[in-house]
Structure formats: structure tokens, C-alpha cells
Symmetry: C2
Subunit: 121 residues, 2 copies
DNA sequence: ATAGGGCTTGGACCTAGGTTTAAGGTCAAG
DNA sequence: CTTGACCTTAAACCTAGGTCCAAGCCCTAT
């Protein structure tokens, strides 16, 4: 598959694919006789995985550290589980913080509303 | 308070404070006769709030939209409630997003563990 | 064979959020 | 009065994650 085809199939831009290759997030593509990049269809899954991982808050660096070493089946090792667990904890902490902040905001809103109802103080 | 003092008190760098001022995240500081920035102690709390908000995933732009207006000209009670409510909704959305993120992470971890138990297919 | 797309490269540019640096002014202590 | 710590500015630089562009090749259809 040419770069445009795989980009379309995976729903990413061609420039992004080349960017990923340049940064080592994906392996350099094989080249046809004309110099065009030639991709196996499996790369579609990988590109989707990268997007998914980014959506989960992973940096490209983190993704590369998992993906590059483990080849075509990227998400299948202890390390991936370790990284995901760490990320899970981080997201959990984020939620706790956000809830605390919301509680504070709610308190503040409540106070303001009271102020409004009894403007005299 | 001079910039170094307030920076230390708030646990941020002086360059960051100047950067915030330049970007309009905080109001321009008063200046002493020597041209030095002179800060009220309340700014410590604001700087801490900015860090907190960033920790919750808010961009500086979003933070500025609330902060700048609550600075020089005190906003009305109504407007404060409106802004806070918008913020509340944003935090709420963030929490929802984070929960979804965690759900996906848990799913992935589950799949990986299954993969581990039944190795190659 | 000529037009149009798609491909190649490198490098410039972009937003976000800062840090670092250069060149200089100020202040308090010794 | 000199030293060192602190302040001022603008501008350059940085990482992350990309996009855009120019100049030029390749392929396919008409």
C-alpha cells in the first residue's frame, strides 16, 4: 500500500505518517522500485493503536517505547501492562483532583447564590 | 513583594511569572520607583490556582478567561456565577472524559492479561 | 505527450508552555 | 566603592506534535 492509501485507511494524514517515521514511532517503510513507501496492511492497525494510545494520554515517546520493540503485535507484554497500570493510576489521581476542584467550585457557586438571594449583609 | 520572593512563595520560576504576564494570564504588576515588579501577597494564591488548574488539564487560555477578568475590575455576582458554572461544566466534562479513558485502559489491561495467559495464537 | 494527481525530500512554520541568554540597571553589605 | 544577588528587557531556544511548502520525480488517462 502506498502512503496515501494507508493514510486514508487509518484516518491519518500522510505527513503524520512520515513524521512518525522520522521520529522512530514507526519503523521505516520498505520502498518500491520508484522510491515510494510500501506499507503492509497491518500498519493500519498500528496507526489506529497509536491514535488510541494518544487518546489515553500517552506521549508518542511512551508509545514508541512499547511499540517499536514488540513488532506487529504491539500490545502484548509485561511492559505494556506496567505502562498502562501507571497511566491508570495517573488518570485516577486526575479524577480525584478534578472532583475536589468541582467540590470547591460548587461551594463557591453556592455561596454566591446565597449572596444574591440576600444581597444585604 | 518582588518577583523572586513571590516566585519562591508560590513555587514557580520568575521567568514563568513574566511569561504569564506577557500572555495576559495574570495582570501586569505594579512597578516600584526602580522599575521592579511589586506584587500583592494574594498573587501567591493565584499562581497556585493556575498550577492546579493546569494539573486538571486546563490550558492557560482557559485559565486566563476567568482570571484576567476577576483581576482589575471586580465582576458582578451574576457573571461570577456564570463563569464558575462554565468552569464547573468543564471540570465535569473532564471527569467524564477521564473516566472513559480509565475504562478503556482497564479494558486494554484485561485484554493484555488474557493474552499473557494464552500466549501465541 | 501533456495534464493531473500522488509521491519524494528537506526545511520552514505553527501552537503551547515555557527556559535561557545577553546586556544592562539597582541595591545592600563589607 | 566594589561585589554579588537581584531586577529589567527582548529575543533566541526548547520539546511536543504536527502542518505546509517548494522543487522535482512518477504514474495514469486521454
Amino acid at each position: 500500500m502506498k502512503i496515501g492509501e494507508i493514510a486514508k485507511a487509518a484516518g491519518v494524514t500522510t505527513s503524520r505518517i512520515r513524521f512518525y517515521e522520522k521520529r522512530g514511532i514507526i519503523a521505516p517503510a520498505a520502498r518500491g522500485a520508484n522510491g515510494y513507501r510500501d506499507y503492509p496492511e497491518e500498519l493500519v492497525a498500528l496507526l489506529r493503536f497509536i491514535e488510541q494510545a494518544q487518546g489515553l494520554g500517552f506521549t508518542l515517546r511512551e508509545i514508541a517505547s512499547v511499540e517499536v520493540r514488540s513488532g506487529p503485535h504491539p500490545i502484548s507484554c509485561d511492559e505494556a501492562i506496567r505502562l498502562l497500570s501507571a497511566k491508570r493510576d495517573a488518570v485516577d489521581a486526575l479524577i480525584a483532583e478534578a472532583k475536589e476542584r468541582m467540590r470547591k467550585i460548587d461551594t463557591l457557586i453556592g455561596e454566591l447564590r446565597e449572596n444574591q438571594e440576600s444581597p444585604k449583609e
